[in-house]
C-alpha cells in the first residue's frame, strides 16, 4: 500500500541504533499495527452485529468470538515458548530468548483474557463463575505456570540465568500440560459434575466467518 514516508524525526539516530537490537524494524511494526487495528474493527462488527443471534444462549454467546480465539492464541504462545526454550538451550542467542519471553508475556495476557471472558460467559449460561471441569482446570494451571515463568525470570539475578532458567521451566511446563489435562479428566470422570452445554460444532456460516476473522 502506498504510504507517504515520514520525514526524519529528531530521534532518527536513536531509532537507527534501536534497529540494531533484535526485533522488527519500525516500518514493519507500524504496518502490522495498522493491520491489527483494521482487523479488530472488522471483528467487532462481525461479532456484534453481523453474526446471527444464537438460538439457545442469546446475545451472551457472542463472547464466544473473543473467548475461544484468545484461548487458542494462549495455547499457541505456550507452544512457541516451548520451542524457543529448546532452541535456546541447544544453541543460545538473545533473539531466541527474546522470543520465548515475549511469547510468554503474550500467552499470559491472552490466557488471562480467556479466563475472564470464560467466567463472564459462564455466569449467565451456567449460573456459576467457575467449575472445576478439565478444560477450565487445565487452563488455570497453565495460567499459573506462565505466571511462575515470568516471576522466575524477573527474580533471576542475571539476564543469562534468567534466560536459562526460563528455558528449563518452559520445557517442563509445556510437557506437563497434557498430563494435567489427562489427570483432571480422569478425576472428573470419577466425580462427574453437572453437564455443561457444549460449544456448537456446527455453526452458521456467518458465525464461522466472524470466528475466523476474530482469530
Amino acid at each position: 500500500m502506498a504510504r507517504p514516508t515520514p520525514a526524519p524525526l529528531p530521534g532518527a539516530a536513536s531509532r537507527n541504533a534501536a534497529r540494531a537490537r533484535p526485533g522488527l524494524g519500525d516500518a514493519a511494526l507500524q504496518s502490522l499495527g495498522a493491520l491489527t487495528f483494521i482487523l479488530m474493527l472488522a471483528t467487532l462488527y462481525l461479532a456484534l452485529i453481523y453474526a446471527p443471534t444464537e438460538a439457545v444462549q442469546g446475545h451472551a454467546q457472542r463472547i464466544f468470538y473473543f473467548h475461544v480465539p484468545t484461548a487458542w492464541v494462549g495455547f499457541l504462545a505456550f507452544f512457541v515458548v516451548f520451542v524457543a526454550s529448546i532452541s535456546y538451550l541447544l544453541r543460545g542467542g538473545r533473539t531466541t530468548d527474546a522470543i520465548a519471553r515475549s511469547s510468554a508475556e503474550i500467552g499470559l495476557l491472552f490466557t488471562t483474557m480467556m479466563l475472564v471472558t470464560g467466567s463472564l460467559w459462564g455466569k449467565p449460561i451456567w449460573g456459576t463463575w467457575w467449575t472445576w471441569d478439565p478444560k477450565l482446570t487445565t487452563s488455570l494451571i497453565l495460567w499459573f505456570i506462565y505466571l511462575g515463568y515470568l516471576m522466575l525470570r524477573a527474580y533471576a539475578p542475571t539476564r543469562e540465568q534468567s534466560a536459562r532458567y526460563g528455558a528449563v521451566l518452559g520445557i517442563v511446563g509445556f510437557v506437563d500440560v497434557p498430563i494435567v489435562y489427562m489427570a483432571t479428566t480422569w478425576w472428573r470422570t470419577q466425580h462427574p459434575e453437572a453437564v455443561i452445554t457444549a460449544d456448537g460444532a456446527s455453526m452458521a456460516p456467518e458465525m464461522l466467518l466472524a470466528f475466523l476473522v476474530s482469530l
Binding site: I145, E160, L169, I171
Partner: protein, 427 residues
C-alpha cells in the same frame, strides 16, 4: 606466576572463567587447549582450584572431606594421595576433627590439599590480602615438591593468550610488566601461552562412583546434623493436626477427605525442605567445589534425587502410621505404599530440579512452591485419588489407572530432570 590488578579489574572473574564456573559474555578462551564452555569436564579434570572459600563441608571431618573429593575426581587410592599432602601442610593431627574446628590458618593447608588431590598439572589460587601471599609462599614450596617435574605450581594465563580487549586487561598487563624488575628473580617471566596438559591415566571417573560419593556425603551430613528429616517430620505432623480443625474429619468424612490431608502434609513438608539441601551446600559446604569437579552429566541430579527420595520416605514412614492412628484409616496397605513411593519419586524429580532453579533467585522461599505445585497437579490428583480408592473401595464408576499415571509421570520427569539439571547448574 601471579595475576595482579586493582579492585574490580577482573582478576577473580578471569579465574572463574578458567575454572569453568562462568561463561564469557564475549570473546574466546582456551584452557589447556580446550574451550571451557564446551569441554568443561576435561578442563576441570586438569585443574585444582583454591579460592576464597574452602569448599569443604563444615560438618564432615578433614579426612571425610578429602576422601569425598578424591572419589569425585576418581583418584584410585585416596589415602595414599592425601597423606603426603596433609603431612606437608602439617595437618595430620587435625584430620579427624570436624572441619569447622580447624583454625583459619590450617584451613589454607586443607584447601590446598583438596585442590591437589588429583595431581593437576596446573593449580590456580586466588587471594585477597597481601599478607596471605607471604604465607602461601611457604606452602607453595611444599606444593611444588609434590608436583610432577616440569609443572609450575601456581599459574595463570597472561592477558596475551586471551581474546579480551577490555581496559582492565591492559592494566593487568602493565602490572605484570612492573614485576620484571631486576632483583626479583623469584617471579618467573610471563609465559606466552599455556602448555597443553598430558592425559591423566590414573583417574577413573565413573557415573556410579560419583553418584555414590555425593549421595554418601549427603546422607553422612544429614546423619551428623539431623536437620532435614526432623524438621520435615514435625512439620508434617503439625499440619495433620491442623487439618483436623480446618475440615470436619469425623468418621464419616475421614475416608473421603483424610487422604487429602495426608498428602498435603507430606507435600508441604517436602517443599519446605527439598530446597534446603542445596541452600545448605551453598552456605556450609562445597557447592562450588562440586561445580568445579568433573561430574558426569546427570550424576549430581541422580545423587540429589535419590537423597531427597530417601529423606522423604523416612518422613513418610513415621507420618503414615500416625495418620492412620489419628484418623482411624487402614493405610498400611500395599497399594497405598506403592502409590506413596511413586508419588514421592515424582515429587522429588520435579522438586530437585526446581530447587536448583529457585536457589539462586531472589524470593527463594516462595518461588519453589509457586513453581512446583502447578507442575505437580497430576501427582497430587493421582496420589490422593489412588489412596482414596484403596481405602474406600469406591462406588464411583470404576477407577482410573492412577498408579500407571504416576509411573509415567515419574519416568518422564526423572529423564527430564536428568537432561535439564546441568543447564541449571552452570553459573
Amino acid at each position: 606466576m601471579a595475576l595482579l590488578g586493582p579492585n574490580g579489574s577482573g582478576k577473580t572473574t578471569l579465574m572463574r572463567l578458567i575454572a569453568t564456573l562462568t561463561r564469557p559474555t564475549f570473546g574466546t578462551l582456551h584452557v589447556l587447549g580446550q574451550d571451557p564452555a564446551r569441554r568443561a569436564r576435561e578442563v576441570r579434570r586438569s585443574l585444582g582450584v583454591v579460592a576464597h572459600r574452602p569448599y569443604l563441608y563444615e560438618d564432615l571431618t578433614g579426612r571425610e572431606n578429602l576422601e569425598f573429593y578424591a572419589r569425585l575426581y576418581g583418584v584410585r587410592s585416596p589415602a595414599d594421595r592425601y597423606r603426603p599432602l596433609v603431612e606437608e601442610a602439617g595437618l595430620a593431627a587435625a584430620l579427624d576433627g570436624r572441619f569447622e574446628a580447624i583454625r583459619a590458618g590450617c584451613s589454607n593447608g586443607s584447601r590446598s590439599s583438596r585442590a591437589l588431590l588429583q595431581t593437576p598439572p596446573y593449580s590456580c589460587s586466588t587471594s585477597r590480602t597481601p599478607g596471605s601471599i607471604r604465607r602461601r609462599s611457604a606452602s607453595s614450596k611444599a606444593r611444588s615438591a609434590t608436583q610432577p617435574q616440569g609443572a609450575p605450581s601456581c599459574s595463570a594465563p597472561t592477558t596475551s593468550s586471551l581474546g579480551c580487549g577490555s581496559r582492565s586487561c591492559g592494566r593487568a598487563r602493565r602490572r605484570l610488566n612492573n614485576l620484571r624488575r631486576p632483583g626479583r628473580r623469584d617471579y618467573p617471566r610471563p609465559t606466552a601461552r599455556l602448555l597443553p596438559c598430558t592425559p591423566r591415566g590414573e583417574l577413573v571417573t565413573g557415573f556410579r562412583a560419583q553418584v555414590l560419593a555425593v549421595l554418601g556425603k549427603d546422607l553422612a551430613l544429614e546423619y551428623r546434623r539431623r536437620e532435614l528429616v526432623g524438621s520435615m517430620l514435625v512439620f508434617a505432623l503439625v499440619i495433620l493436626v491442623v487439618f483436623n480443625f480446618a475440615f470436619d474429619l469425623r468418621v464419616e468424612n475421614a475416608r473421603a477427605v483424610g487422604p487429602g490431608a495426608l498428602w498435603v502434609a507430606v507435600f508441604f513438608a517436602g517443599v519446605l525442605n527439598i530446597g534446603r539441601t542445596l541452600v545448605l551446600e551453598q552456605e556450609r559446604g562445597g557447592w562450588e567445589g562440586l561445580l568445579l569437579a568433573p561430574l558426569e552429566p546427570g550424576a549430581l541430579y541422580t545423587a540429589k534425587l535419590i537423597g531427597n527420595v530417601i529423606f522423604m520416605l523416612l518422613v513418610e514412614a513415621v507420618v503414615l502410621p500416625v495418620f492412620g492412628a489419628l484418623y482411624n484409616l487402614p493405610v498400611l496397605d500395599l497399594g497405598v505404599l506403592l502409590v506413596l513411593a511413586l508419588g514421592t519419586v515424582g515429587f522429588a524429580a520435579v522438586g530437585t530440579l526446581f530447587a536448583a532453579l529457585s536457589a539462586n533467585s531472589r524470593a527463594r522461599e516462595v518461588m519453589l512452591p509457586v513453581l512446583i505445585f502447578p507442575i505437580l497437579v497430576p501427582v497430587i490428583i493421582a496420589t490422593v485419588q489412588a489412596t482414596v480408592d484403596r481405602i474406600e473401595p469406591s462406588s464411583a464408576m470404576g477407577t482410573a489407572p492412577w498408579a500407571e499415571l504416576l509411573l509415567a509421570f515419574d519416568a518422564l520427569f526423572v529423564v527430564g530432570g536428568f537432561l535439564l539439571f546441568d543447564y541449571v547448574l552452570e553459573e
